[in-house]
Each structure stands twice: as structure tokens, then as C-alpha cells.
């Protein structure tokens, strides 16, 4: 199987090349995420970082994890972030000025220090150490290996995770779902009884759809009744409220300009 080794000097392996291309990109994307002004851009950059991570997982023989990363994490969680951004209002650029005195400076110092220390520590730890790949773990196949672990060795945590999911559901409902007063919405049965047992059956056959036959199917042009008068209920209430309704007579057959006097089509 593919062995990725970080020994310096063996660059010709494709994973190494892949890593040297993608790693700087994802670091840049991560930094961009911090610096960029618009929220959506930073969300997208985050998505990019996740995708590169997924690629790394796959490169490291953890195919299942890579896929899950893309499907669940990038797919669902990133979408959740975007929804939240929309919820909060996408165009509101958050100001990047820092009002806590000296916060940015210490943050940078701490981050650099933390990173530097980690790099030197891990460097010191991993230099000239043979890194063991997932060969042994993947022997029954990546997913099968995982499955055997999850469902035998860690069966109890797996069951407890369901508790996590329920808590998440509870939380979502508690915080986001506002209980509409039950009575407000009519149930299916109530709606049909209103339609057919109401006082008049005028609308029982359903409302005429808007637009004039074969001439103009715009939503804001009312349909013509058999006697040629526009049908008011073929336009949605919103448009009449907004007064966007156009006069359908202008599209009546009679009033169209003669076709013959224009030579050559448009």
C-alpha cells in the first residue's frame, strides 16, 4: 500500500508532492478566513480548508474518514454555517478593528509561540522516527476495520453517542423552534370542508391560473374569463396588494399589431 514517509529528502513520492502543494494552500486559506471581510468568503475558505483535510485523510489511507469529512463535515456543518450566516445577515461585514487594547498583539504572539513550540517539539519527536502507516489497521479494509472497532470494542460509547444526538435535537428544538399556537393553522380536513361545504362553490374547481392563452403567461397578467373580463382570483393576493397587476386586454388577440407590415423577423 502507499507509504507516506516524511523523511526529508524523499520528495518524489506523489503524496509528498500533494502535501507540499496543498498544505500551504490550506494554511493560506485558514489565514484568509481570519482576514477576509465578508463572512461568506471566510465560510467558503473554511470549506476549502476542510476539503484539503479530507484529501489528506484519503492520502493517509483513511478513505472512510475522508469521505465522512466531506459528506458530513463540509457538506452538512458548512451548510449549517452558511445558514447561520444568512440568519445573521450575510452582508453585514463585521468590523475587523480590535477594540481590546493589546489583544491582537498578544494573540499573534501566543499563536506564533504555540505553533513554533509545537513544531519544534513534534519535529524533535518525529525526526528520524519511522512513521507507521495505517497498513496494519486497514488490513480488513478501511471501513470494515472501523466497523469491527466501533461495534465490538467501543460498543458502549457508540450507544452513548445516540444520547448526544438526542441532546442535539432537543437543543435545536428548544432554541430554534417556536411553538406556533396550535389553533392558528387549519388542518387538511378543515381546509377541504371550507372549500366544498363553504357558502359558495365558486372556487371549488380551483382557481384559474394567471396569464392569457398562448400570448402571455406572466404571473402578473390576470386570466380572461369566457366573457373576456380579467379573472381577479387568478392573481396571487400579494401582487394585487402590491398593485403590480397588468391589464390583460393589451394582450387580447384583437389588439395585436399586424404581423404583415414588418418584414424580416426580429
Amino acid at each position: 500500500m502507499i507509504r507516506l514517509s516524511l523523511e526529508i529528502g524523499q520528495t518524489q513520492k506523489p503524496e509528498a508532492i500533494l502535501f507540499y502543494i496543498l498544505a500551504p494552500l490550506s494554511v493560506l486559506a485558514a489565514l484568509g478566513m481570519l482576514i477576509v471581510r465578508k463572512a461568506v468568503h471566510s465560510a467558503l475558505l473554511l470549506a476549502w480548508v476542510m476539503i484539503t483535510l479530507a484529501i489528506f485523510y484519503i492520502a493517509l489511507d483513511a478513505a472512510f474518514l475522508g469521505i465522512v469529512q466531506i459528506v458530513v463535515y463540509t457538506g452538512a456543518v458548512m451548510m449549517l454555517f452558511l445558514f447561520i450566516l444568512m440568519l445573521v445577515g450575510v452582508d453585514a461585514p463585521d468590523s475587523l478593528t480590535e477594540n481590546i487594547k493589546g489583544h491582537r498583539a498578544t494573540a499573534i504572539v501566543a499563536a506564533l509561540g504555540f505553533g513554533g513550540l509545537l513544531i519544534s517539539l513534534i519535529g524533535r519527536a518525529t525526526l528520524n522516527h519511522v512513521s507507521v502507516g495505517l497498513a496494519m489497521a486497514n488490513e480488513p479494509g478501511n471501513v470494515q476495520g472501523l466497523a469491527s472497532l466501533i461495534f465490538t470494542q467501543y460498543v458502549f460509547p457508540f450507544e452513548v453517542i445516540s444520547a448526544l444526538l438526542i441532546t442535539a435535537a432537543l437543543g435545536a428544538m428548544v432554541l430554534a423552534h417556536s411553538q406556533k399556537s396550535a389553533g392558528a393553522r387549519l388542518s387538511q380536513r378543515a381546509l377541504s370542508s371550507v372549500r366544498f361545504r363553504g357558502d359558495s362553490l365558486a372556487n371549488a374547481a380551483g382557481l384559474p391560473s394567471s396569464g392569457v392563452f398562448a400570448r402571455h403567461n406572466a404571473v402578473d397578467v390576470p386570466a380572461l374569463l369566457p366573457d373576456g373580463t380579467p379573472a381577479k382570483n387568478s392573481i396571487s393576493g400579494v401582487l394585487t396588494a402590491r398593485g403590480d397587476v397588468q391589464d390583460s386586454t393589451q394582450y387580447a388577440l384583437g389588439s395585436l399589431p399586424k404581423v404583415d407590415d414588418e418584414s424580416g423577423d426580429k
Binding site: H103, T106, A110, L117, L121, R124
Partner: protein, 628 residues
Amino acid sequence: MTSNNLVYLIALPLFSSGFLMMLGRRADKWGHIFATLISASAFGIGAFEFLQMLARPSESRAVTQKLFSWISVGTFQVDASLLLDQLSISFVLLITGVGTLIHIYSIAYMSHDLDRRRFFAFLNFFIAAMLLLVLGDSYLNLYVGWEGVGLASYLLIGFWNQKPEYATAAKKAFIANRVGDVGLSLAIMIAFATFGTVSFAGVEEKVSGASTAALTGIGLMLLLAATGKSAQFPLQSWLGDAMAGPTPVSALIHAATMVTAGVYLITRSNFIFDNAPTAQLCVVIIGAITLMFGALIGTAKDDIKKALAASTMSQIGYMILATGLGPVGYAFAIMHLLTHGFFKAGMFLGAGSVMHGMDDEVNMRKYGGLGKLMPITAITFGLGYLAIIGVPPFAGFYSKDKIIETAFNSEGIKGLFIGGAALLGALVTAFYMTRVIILTFTGAKRWDEKAHPHESPFLMWGPMAILAIGSVASGFLLSSGNRFVSWLAPVVNSHEVEHAERFQPVVVTTMALVAVLIGVAIAIAKYRSDVPRVAPTNVNIFTKIARRDLLQDDFNEAVLMRPGQALTNFLVATDERAIDGAVRTVGAVVIGSSKGIRKTQNGFVRSYALLILFGAFALLATIWVVTL
């Protein structure tokens, strides 16, 4: 030999003083009589014991009584027990005898005073304390009496403490005594350290073994105690002001008994001083200095009581000087002490009756010509006067003459020098005592208009008469055939050792008489003409200094008081700033750091996250260092 009625000597007056104090107003009517009876009964017991002692052979005269074992800490054993030997019986008789006379005198003298009962309670307390002092068988018991006497003198000097200056006088006396007491306590401690015991007998046995340095130390400390109690140089400033107390107090305490406690102490510790020559030399020097000091002050004082006080100071100077002259001197010192007790108390009571007559006027310049109006007082005062200047048949002559003689006989130029000082002292004493007699009893009347002198009642001139008889006869009685010297010999083990005599006794006596006559002549010459009612101010520098008690108060203030106050102010300030400051700063630091740390809690998530990152960074840094 033990006897079990020594304790009554002390218990009776002590109990009666407590009883009178407790009863308060109810005891006013009979309180003073009760106190006087108690004092008289004490005198009776003393006399009985004296007679018993006389009957016993000389070597077994001492009598002891063990009350209870006071301190028993490991090897340190001190019993509260009493010792009555020849030395202490003479004191007992003096104290209770003169004391009773003064009690009688006070009945009349204090008749118009509201707190008479309290006065007599204090007097009884004083008698009890003084008896304990002289009867104690160890330095510690003596120390208890010593303190009691100091307290009694404070209470009695400050008896009329409505006047602020009397109260300060009492405080001054007490403080000066306390300084002396420090000396005594140090002496006791050193004694205990070197001998392991503080009883006189115990110390006497071990004294030969001790190092002279320790002995000198103890001797000097005892001397310091004596100067404090007996108003010797350098702690003599309080005696003049002590006259603020009622005259009987001055008579009893500041003439006859308390001030002689110092002499008793040195005499009692004769075994220490005999083995510590340097200490003995200091005693002599102190005696000589105080002798001249008192005499000079006496010449310039217009207040009759202050003049007598100055003379007491110089007479005690004589006694201290005598005790410093070796074994033989102790007996003459005590003899002079007894005779002085008689005539000085007599003169004080005389002064008291003069003041009584002149409604408490003390300035002699306002007396004059009282001899005719107060004949008895004049006679008794005169006899006392003759005794003190040392005219032959009277008591003063015998005792003072012996002191001057032994002074001259002591070896080396020291003898000459001290003898000369004693002689000069005798001259000046004669001068100022004659001055007092002339200003008070002879010459033109210089009274204020409203003064109408009259003779004192019998209750007052009675005791004065007895004392006058005492001052006449006591000298002869005590010294005839060296009776008193042999009486005291076993206590002060002054076995007859012949000294190389510089002068024959008769030569010394003639010299002394000549000096006295010169003094009297000068005084008569100076004060025979009219005496200005107001003390002249354009006097030479010496009189000015003498009037201000040879600047002793200014000296004390400058050297002791002001630096003391400065020190206390400094300590209070440092305590205020340093210690309280430290506590306050600790509090402030904690509150300050609390405010500081609170600032990190600014409510922003990102700064909390930064704090966590910083924590992680710190941990990593430590690992990085650890695994270098």
C-alpha cells in the same frame, strides 16, 4: 530562737489600714484614734521584744519567725519569714516610737481635714511597710517592704492631690524611688545568680566564695537603691518637692524613717560592702557629695520645710558616709540615724506648729519674733537646733563627732579629704540652722497683717516635747561606754579593731566645735539686722544656683526627660507608620491585585480564548524546556 508575735508587728497596722479604708465614711469619727492605738500597740510589742532581747545573751539575741514558704521553684527557696536582731529592733523602736508620737501630733494637725481617716490609714500602711522592710529576713522580703514604703510615701506626699503641683511632686518622688528600686531588684538578681539564695544569712555564708566583681556589682546596685530611697546624689531631686505632703508626713517619712531605709540596707549588707572595697569607696564619695549638696541648698531655701529637707539630705549624707567607712562606721551611722530621727522629727513638728500658727505660711521671711508668742515650740525647736549642730551635751554632738573622727581616721589622703568635707559640712549646717532659728523666732516681726500666731494645743506640743527630750538624752544614752557599738557588734561583726588614728579624739572634737561656732557667728552677723520680706534678687551667682536646688531639676529634665519624650514620640511614630503601615499595605496589595486580576475578566469570549491559548502556550513552553 523563734518567736511568734513578730508577725503582729506588721499585721496590726496593715489590717487596720485596710479596715479603715474599707469602712469609708463610717470610720471618720473614731478612725484616727483607732489608728493611733494600733501604732501604740505595735510600739508596745516592739518594746516587749526589746526587753526580751536584752535578757538574752548577746550572741543569741536574733529571733526569727517563718510565716509560709513563699517561692519554691526548683533549687530557689524563699520563705516569707521575719528576722528580729539588734539592728532591726533599734529600727522597730524608732519607727513605732516616733510613729506613734506623730500619730498623736496628726490628730490635732489634721483635725480640720475631711479625709483624716484616709490619712491615718495611709500612715498605718506606711508603718506596716517600714516594719516589713526592717524585719524581712531576705532581700526579697525587704524588697516587698521597700516597695510598700515607696507606695506609702507616694500616697502621703500626694495626699492633697487637688493641687496639681502636689500630685506632680508625688509622682516625682515615686519615679525617683522606682529608679532606685531597679537597682535593688538587679542586686537581688545578681545575688541569686552568684549565691543561689537571697536570704541575708545564706548570702553571708557564701560571700567569701563569690568573685569581687560580682560583689562590687551587687554593692553598686545596692548603693543605687539606697540613693533612690534616701534621696542621695544623683537621685536626690525628689526630697525637696516631697515637702508638699502634710508636715507629719514629712516628719515621719522624710526625716525619721523612710529616708533612712538606704542606710539600713547598706548596714544590713555590710558583709557585701566589706568585701567590695571599690563599692565602699563609692558609698563614701556619694555620702560626701550629698552632704555638701544638701548643706548648700539648705543655706538658700526660704521655705522652712525645704530648708529642713535639705538638712535631712545632708545628715543622711553623713550616715551614708559613715557606713562607707568600714565595720566600725556602721554603728556610728545607725547611732546618728537614731539621734537624727529624734531631733529632725522634733524640728519638723516644730515647723508644723509654726505653720499651724501662721495658717500654713511656710516662707521664713514672713516669720520673725515668734519665740515670744510660741514659747514651747521655740524651746523644743531650739533643743533640736542645738542637737543638730552638735553642741556637746546634746545628741547630735556624740553621733556626728564620732563620724567625723572615723572619717579622719580612715587611711590615706582619702581620710583627710573626707574628714575635711565632714567638717565643712558641720560648719555650713551650723550656719543654715542658725539662719532658720533667727529668721523664725528672733528679730523684728515680718508677719502679714492677718497672721496671728498662737501656741499649738497640747496634742501637738506634747510629742514635740518628748522628741526634744529624746534629742537631748539619746546621744548620751547611746554612746556612753560604747554601749550602742557593742550592742550592734554581732550584727555588723565590727570586732574591736584599732585604727591608726591620725588625730586624737579630743583634737577632732575641738576642731568640730570651732567649725560650729564659726558657722553660728557668720549666721548671726548676717541676719541680725532686718531681713527683707521679699527674697532679694541681685544676689551672687551661687545663691541663685542654690535657690534652684543646684539646677538638679533642670539637669534631670535636660538629660533624662526630654530625650525620654523624644524616644516615646519616635516609637509611637514608627509603630504608627511601620507596623500599621505594613498591615495596611498587605491589605492594599491584596485588594489592588484583586482589582488588577478582575480586569482580565472583561467579558469578551476572545480574550477568554486567548487566556486559554496563553495557558496552553505556557504549559508547552515548560515542556519544551523540560525536554530540552
